[in-house]
Structures are given as structure tokens and as C-alpha cells.
Symmetry: C2
């Protein structure tokens, strides 16, 4: 008899038939004696419909009112799912964010959760109710409706699981778990039965869209076991937990992540002097452009080359800023390249296993791929390569680290 928080996204509750299927699933857990809290998103398409309505009234809608508007989407789903459960003989009660009292700050459309009142929920759970909570929304201390921004429903689920000290937080999606890499690129990609929060964070930030980064951070912070499952297929999914020190079998590498959303900028012939990096990246930061990988070439004849990557959408603006910077600091010229990709190997095991980087570089060299930039963290090594080599690189790395095999079958890694 566990307490489980389950989150179903917009596609899973996309129409009333699907809401019925979700109700069947929830009813199954109840029948097994579990206490269940369900967090739901707006029915797919509904949030966009509401946003269009808002924009047809006001070009840049007042954010307070946008939250009032958008929060109705999830509220509708909670009512319908509660009805569907009740139709199946399962006692259920819907809650809006403010009814739970999911207290947030007052940053409309991107509010942060501060505190959750769990008293009433515990009472209803004790009374045998399934609790259906509107995801993505909360209330500030003045009673104004707030929303949590993208992926907010995942965050709601994790925050509720933390507040209620749930045994597990299950995120139902359209994939049956987290994979070693994108199965569309590597057909041998394998579903991971477990991954650590840190690895999941790296995978997520690298373009694995299964979970929103914020909810993984949150789950890690409060140590809420998180499980990714398919909404309509049975299966164990992927469990995301803390690293277990006792576990000897933890594989070195969890997976290969990649993304094509970056572009590379180089400012060449920069006079080598203290403060150079700041004089270049300061104006970029002021323009609200996020920088990812940064490399400063070893200076020769008293000038240096400075290369960094930004989101592809920001390339044009970044170039403008950088051209001005080049003039100001007497640099030679600015070049850019948007035909690049980033590939990363991710795994907490590399903390204790040497040789991952050299294995990575060797695997890429073997298939003739030139590495343009390198950046590392404790549990991740990323390389920037030409975009056309992306799939080749991912396959080579997946195979080199033996990710298609279950960790237990592995000889050495």
C-alpha cells in the first residue's frame, strides 16, 4: 500500500476517451490498495486555444490575466477525470492549485512553488478519495492565480510527491521510459531501467525531452523517486533516483545525448590581455543570450581566438553584438557556423572510471569525425562536431560504450 503521485500530460488526456483510459489506469492502482494523487495538464490543444483567445484581445496579454485564463485548462481536465473515476465507482475529488493551496511567488506565468498545504489532501486520502489536482498552477500569498510555466505540471507532481512524502512520483508520457539515446538515431537504443537524477538532468538539458529539467531538479533536491512510464502501454518504465553507492553494477555511461540547436561563433585575433573573456561575453550576457560551450585558443603572436556556442535562434543577434565588440576591442574578425551539433556521453560512473574521454575520442576518430570543441563536467563529456556527422557519432559512441547491452551482461566498461 503505497502513496503514489501520477502525472498525465495533455496528450494523455487529449479527449474524453483518453480521459476514460486514464481513469481505468488510476482505478487499477486504487484496486490494488494504493493511495493515489493524480496531477493533470490541460487537454492537448486547449492551452493553445486559450493563448490564441488572449492574443486576439491583447497583443501582449497582462500576465496576471493570462494566468487566470490558462489555469482554466487544467481545471477542466480535473473535473472530467474526477467524473470518469466516479463513473468507475472510484471516489474522486478535483482540486485547483489554489484549493490545494500550492503557494507560489507572484511571478506570473513562471511562478515558483514555495509551499504546499498537505493537510486537506491527507484528510481526503484517508477518506479513500483519489485526489485530482490541476497541474501547472498555484496561488500567490494575495490569492492571485499563478502558473508555473513550461513543464509546470511535472513540477506540480514532484512538489506534491515531496510534500506528501509519496513513495513514488510517476510521470506518464508518450514514451515508455528514458533511452540510452534517441531510438530514431540508434535502433539498438535501450530503455534504461534506472538512471540517476544527475544523469537525467544532463540528458534532459541535452535535448532528451522526456522530462522538464525543473521537475528533475526538484525531485533530486527532495529525493522523490521519479518514474517515467507510457500512458497507455504497460511496462516498468525508467526509475530516476539518487545514486546508490552500494550498487556495484551501476554502468559507467547511462546514455548519449545530443542536440542540433546550437551555433558556433568565433572572434579571431583578439589582443591577449586580462579581462578579454569578460569584454566579449559581458555584452552577450547583457543581450540576454545564453552561452553554452566556451573555448579560448592558446594565444599566438599576442592574439587569441575566442569561440563559444549559443542557441541557433540567438545566432543573428549574437553576431551583431559580437561585431560591435570586435570593433571595440580591436579584434580581427568574427565568424560563425550554425551547421554544428553537440554530442555528449553522460554517466555518474565516469566519476570513478578513468578513460571515458579517451574512449570517446577514439571512437569518434575511428569513424573519421573531427572534434571542434570539447567541454566536460563531472558526469558528462560533450563535443561539438560538424552537424552532418551527428548520427554517425551517436551510433559510434552508443556501440563503443556497449549501451545496447543490459548493464549486467557487460564485461568491462
Amino acid at each position: 500500500m503505497s502513496l503514489i503521485v501520477q502525472k498525465f500530460g495533455g496528450t494523455s488526456v487529449g479527449d474524453t476517451d483518453r480521459i476514460g483510459m486514464v481513469a481505468d489506469k488510476v482505478a487499477g492502482f486504487r484496486a490494488q490498495g494504493h493511495s493515489v494523487v493524480v496531477v493533470v495538464s490541460a487537454m492537448s490543444g486547449e492551452t493553445n486555444r486559450l493563448i490564441e483567445l488572449a492574443h486576439s484581445v491583447q497583443e501582449r496579454p497582462v500576465l496576471r490575466e493570462l494566468d487566470v485564463l490558462l489555469s482554466t485548462g487544467e481545471q477542466v481536465t480535473t473535473a472530467l477525470l474526477s467524473m470518469a473515476l466516479s463513473k468507475r465507482g472510484v471516489k474522486a475529488k478535483s482540486y485547483t492549485g489554489s484549493q490545494v493551496r500550492i503557494l507560489t511567488d507572484d511571478a506570473h506565468t513562471k511562478a515558483r512553488i514555495r509551499e504546499i498545504d498537505d493537510e486537506r489532501l491527507h484528510r481526503d486520502l484517508a477518506d479513500g478519495y483519489v485526489i485530482v489536482v490541476a497541474g501547472f498552477q498555484g496561488v500567490d500569498e494575495n490569492g492571485n492565480i499563478t502558473t508555473l510555466g513550461r513543464g509546470g505540471s511535472d513540477t506540480t507532481a514532484v512538489a506534491l510527491a515531496a510534500a506528501l512524502k509519496a513513495d513514488e512520483c510517476q510521470i506518464y508520457t508518450d514514451v515508455d521510459g528514458v533511452y540510452t539515446t534517441d531510438p530514431r538515431v540508434v535502433s539498438e537504443a535501450r530503455r534504461l531501467s534506472r538512471i540517476t537524477f544527475e544523469e537525467m538532468l544532463e540528458m534532459a538539458s541535452m535535448g532528451s525531452k522526456v522530462l522538464q529539467i525543473r521537475s528533475v531538479e526538484f525531485a533530486g533536491k527532495y529525493n522523490v523517486p521519479l518514474r517515467v512510464l507510457h500512458s497507455f502501454k504497460d511496462g516498468p518504465g525508467t526509475l530516476i533516483t539518487m545514486e546508490d553507492d552500494s550498487e556495484m553494477e551501476m554502468p559507467t555511461i547511462a546514455g548519449i545525448a545530443f542536440n542540433r540547436d546550437e551555433a558556433k561563433l568565433t572572434i579571431e585575433g583578439v589582443p591577449d590581455m586580462p579581462g578579454m573573456a569578460y569584454s566579449i561575453l559581458g555584452p552577450i550576457g547583457e543581450a540576454n543570450i545564453e552561452v553554452d560551450v566556451i573555448v579560448q585558443n592558446i594565444s599566438h603572436d599576442k592574439t587569441a581566438d575566442f569561440t563559444f556556442t549559443v542557441g541557433r535562434n540567438d545566432l543573428e543577434r549574437a553576431e551583431e553584438v559580437l561585431n560591435q565588440v570586435a570593433k571595440d576591442i580591436n579584434a580581427e574578425k568574427v565568424t560563425s557556423d550554425s551547421k554544428i551539433a553537440k554530442v555528449s556521453v553522460v554517466g555518474v560512473g565516469m566519476r570513478s572510471h578513468a578513460g571515458v574521454a579517451s574512449q570517446m575520442f577514439a571512437a569518434l576518430a575511428e569513424v573519421g569525425i573531427n572534434i571542434l570543441m570539447i567541454t566536460t563536467s563531472e558526469i558528462k563529456i560533450s563535443v561539438i562536431i560538424e552537424e552532418k556527422f551527428l548520427e554517425l557519432a551517436v551510433r559510434a559512441l552508443h556501440s563503443s560504450f556497449g549501451l545496447e547491452k543490459e548493464p549486467n551482461d557487460e564485461g568491462a566498461a
Copy 2:
């Protein structure tokens, strides 16, 4: 500088263009320096859409959840109207029923308002905000969302006006006021510039659909001046107020109301004895059928005829009940007639003016209409006639009481 509560129904906010037009109107009142609280319904069609969703999930939706679902309709409108106002440079803030704290009982889908917290509203009004409140909804003392049932937005507006001690509660509709009778029947029908609550109640209960009875009762109880106006045409509308004793010009008759929704049942040859009326109407009441006009004929040869009207929808059921009653009390037979209509003259003036009844009967006799039943109250005389004579009767009465003329122009009445 007055405090005005304005209510706009579903058609008035039917799409974003119309919401813009409403915003223009509200902005106009603000520009004149008035404080404004706006109560809105769901955009037309939205409530039906939500009800259909509910029914596609559960045949008889749980009422608590139906309220959660339906209340989103008005919430959407409040957000959009607030945006439209803000676009016009008017500070505005939306409120749900629970944000205001419109406290109701817990009778889901037909809750009654108990109390309104006006503190926060007064603060926002003082800060120069237009307040946009979701009509039709409230919250019970356990924080559950409730709805007020049909015409609930009118009730919300009147209740807010009472709580805030507003100078006027304006109900915007698709007609430009209350008329002496239906202009589709009498082309000379005239808009009344004033009518009393009691008269309005009688007019409303007789089929004048301009305002919901409950909101008029409420306005009368708390003496909130109520004005009916057209949403998109300028004009003074009709003011509904207390009877003003000082006013000499109050016309005898305010208007002619009528409806075709009734049917007549007669139980003939009832043995004349004490308790007869109860033995007939008791079972009808138990079957939840409402009875309107009741007439008991003078008994002859120790039996009586007992006639009453019910809603046409209830006729079949009422006949079944009555046939059983006839057997039980040894009555002769039961007959029914659904081709009847009720016509009423309504006016507080008849309290102090004699001769209204005889003038009414004379007018009907003059055009050859036979009166089937008569019933009177202090401010109303109703007759049941054959349905085919309805229009003729209304026209004859309208003309006989000179309703096409402004009261001031009247000689005698």
C-alpha cells in the same frame, strides 16, 4: 461619481470582438469617473460545450465536479475582459467567485449566496481598478466551487451591488428595456422608463424573460436599483426600483404579461365535502408538479368541479395522478385542455385604483373573448383564455389601458 455594478451576459461577450465592445462601454463609464464592477457570464456556447464534455464522460455528472467544470467558462471571460480593458488603458483585475469570496451554501449547481466579502473589492476600487467578477459562481465554506444555477450571473451582480452598496446595478441584455408587453405581439408596446420590483416580478414570472426572478427578488429585498439596458445600443433602459409613494404620476398599469406554457385540468363531479381540495392537490404536489391558477366551481347537486393549471410539460403526468385521484374520491371524470393561455395586467397602481378588473373584463368582452378562469393578486389580474385569442386579448388590453402612451400624457387611467 457613482459606484456601478454592470452585468454582461453570454451573448454580450460572445466573441473577442464583443468583449472589446463591452470594454469600450466600461471604459466610457470609468472616463466619467464612476467606479465600476463588471460581472460577466461565460461566452455564449461555452457552457453548453462544457456540459457536453461532461456528459460524454458521465451520464449524470457528479455535481461537485460539474461546478468545477462550468465555473471555468466565466473565469475565461473575466480574464479576456480584463485584458481588453487594460489594452484600453483601464486598470482592471479579474476575480473568480472564490477569490471575491462569494460564500454560498453547498448545494452544487443551485447554490444560494450567503455572504460576500467586500473588503478586497473596496481596496481595489479605491486603487482605481475596474473589477471583473465571474458571475454564476461562488465557494462554500469548505472551499469547494459552487454555481448558482440559471440566471446566476444576474444574481451575482445584484448580490455584489447590495454588498458594495452600489448606486445602481445595470443588467445589459439584448433588449433595450422592459416593455409594456411583447413588441412582437403589440407593435405599439412602449419601453417603460421605470417599473417597481413587484411589477417586474409579476412580469418576469409571467414569461417576460428579461431578468431572472431570483435576481429581481434579491434586488427588491436589498433595495438595489436595477437597470435593464441594451449591451450595444445607447439608451436609458428601464429602471427597476422600490415604489415611490411621493410619485403621483405612477401609472395604474405597468404592462401586460402573458404565457402559453400552461395547461388546464378539470376534475368533474367531485363529492362536495371538507378536505376535497387537499385530496386533489396533495397528490399533485407530491408528484412535484407546480400548480398555478386554481378555481373551484360553486357546487350544484352536492358535487363540485375543480379546475387548475399546470405547466404544459407536466400535463401528462398530472393527468395520470388526477385519474387515480378521481377513482379514489369517486369523482365523475377528468378532462384537460392544453390550448389555453394566461394573460395578466400588472401594476402596483391597482392597489389604489378601483375598476381595473372591470375595465379588463370589459375590454375582453368587447372583442368577444370568453374568460375561462380568473385569479387576482394585489398588483395583478390574470385570466385564462383560449390560446387562439391570446394576441387579440393582449392587443385589446394594451390599448384599453392606454399603454402605448407615456404616463405623463395620460388623461385618466
